[in-house]
């Protein structure tokens, strides 16, 4: 197979950045809400 005939390399699944941000945001929300992080004295969250 010559260079020209070779199919383009697979780029993998491309997830829209908006959807990715939404999913990450919702996962963080659920982890904090269900994981009860509010009751854990987590010093990093108190810096600001």
């Amino acid at each position: 197979m010559t260079e020209k005939e070779r199919p383009p390399a697979r780029e993998g699944i491309k997830l829209n950045e908006d959807w990715l941000a939404t999913i990450v945001g919702l996962i963080l929300t659920l982890v904090i809400a269900i994981g009860g992080i509010a009751s854990i004295p987590y010093p990093l969250f108190k810096l600001f």
Partner: protein
């Protein structure tokens, strides 16, 4: 370490391409650097606040968005000067961190407030986007800017900066250089506005609601809108974010309108396909749905008030990451080749936007929907 051939019959193993591995390495290094810088900002913010308090100030006038941008700018300069900027580039994702932070910010805003602010914000957004887009398009035409550059610029200055520029560029098939150029102008004007507008809002004695609506209606990048709101007042931050998100929702409609206009008027006879309504959904900022959902979950009590507070603090961390990235992302390189006319149009449009947004925000959030 030894290398061996794959067993007979086994599929040949394809090693990860060197550039993919390199990208992953840079991403990991960049992420670690960003986390360390964000912690540094938090420590600096605390130290600055203490220093001001010791000198008789009740609050820290240098809020964390400014500290974060300055830290980002300094590290940006150092990395570029030593040729190490590429080491962190893959992790510099200003928009992504901001969008996750905005989803989490939903925890602070009750659904009722969201609807009330969103209603006023929508009226303001329609007036602002319509007026500022028309003004920029008209002035760009007077100064003989190329149609695609006018479209990208008018969308960026009237809707929401870089995201709108990208959406418009897709709709009108603008050149990549035009988008990069506008993106640089957006950042270049948003940074001074982020610092200057809270000072002006204080001088004009605006209420946090009107000030937030002004920031949200005027500053082009959502990150700088949130930054200006944070510097002024927590309530102003909420209002600014909601007003800006409402404006962001119009991206899809603007992209659809531009695509139709270019296909039927500007590029008529070039065989351009007429775009479908799908463009509106395709360009819709989906993270707004996450923001609304989190607000709803807190409002109906599925997420406790204590958890909501922690989620809100987590959003601050993500905003800080985003502000550090604004400083890291900044580059003047792309402005050099474009000449003075696009800069003149952009600056004139920004002044027009600033003055008009103040009037519209005052009438809508100070007179019609006073809060």
């Amino acid at each position: 370490m030894t290398t061996s051939n794959p067993p007979a019959g086994a599929a040949p193993q394809t090693p990860a391409r060197p550039d993919t591995r390199q990208w992953a390495g840079q991403f990991v290094i960049g992420t670690i650097v960003l986390i360390l810088l964000t912690l540094l900002v938090a420590e600096l913010d605390g130290a600055i606040a203490k220093a001001f308090k010791a000198n008789g100030f009740n609050s820290n006038p240098l809020e964390y968005p400014l500290t974060a941008v300055v830290v980002g700018l300094v590290v940006n300069f150092l990395l570029r000067a030593t040729g190490r900027y590429e080491w962190i580039r893959p992790a510099v994702r200003t928009e992504f961190y901001l969008k996750v932070g905005l989803v989490l910010l939903g925890a602070r805003i009750s659904f009722g407030d969201l609807l009330a602010t969103g209603a006023g914000g929508l009226i303001q957004a329609v007036i602002m986007v319509g007026s500022v887009f028309t003004f920029t398009w008209w002035l760009g035409g007077k100064l003989k800017l190329h149609d695609t550059l006018r479209a990208v610029m008018a969308s960026a200055v009237s809707i929401c900066g870089v995201s709108a520029a990208i959406a418009a560029a897709g709709a009108v098939q603008a050149r990549k250089e035009e988008v990069t150029y506008i993106a640089t102008l957006v950042i270049l004007t948003a940074l001074p506005l982020m610092l200057l507008m809270p000072v002006l809002a204080g001088a004009f004695q605006l209420t946090p609601t009107v000030a937030g609506a002004w920031f949200g209606g005027n500053i082009d990048t959502t990150a700088a809108v949130v930054g200006a709101g944070t510097i002024f007042d927590p309530k102003a931050q909420e209002i600014a974010a909601v007003v800006k998100l409402t404006q962001n929702v119009l991206i899809g409609f603007a992209a659809f309108g531009l695509a139709i206009y270019f296909a039927t008027v500007v590029k008529k006879g070039e065989g351009e396909a007429r775009p479908g309504l799908g463009v509106i959904w395709q360009r819709f900022p989906k993270f707004v749905l996450g923001f609304v959902l989190v607000s709803l979950l807190v409002s109906v009590g599925l997420i406790s008030k204590d958890s909501a507070k922690v989620i809100d603090t987590a959003s601050k961390w993500l905003f800080t990451l985003s502000f550090v990235c604004i400083g890291l992302d900044f580059s003047l390189k792309d402005l050099k080749e474009a000449g003075w006319r696009p800069i003149a149009v952009y600056l004139a449009a920004t002044v027009f936007n600033t003055v008009l947004a103040l009037g519209v925000a005052y009438v809508i959030f100070g007179v019609i929907f006073p809060r």
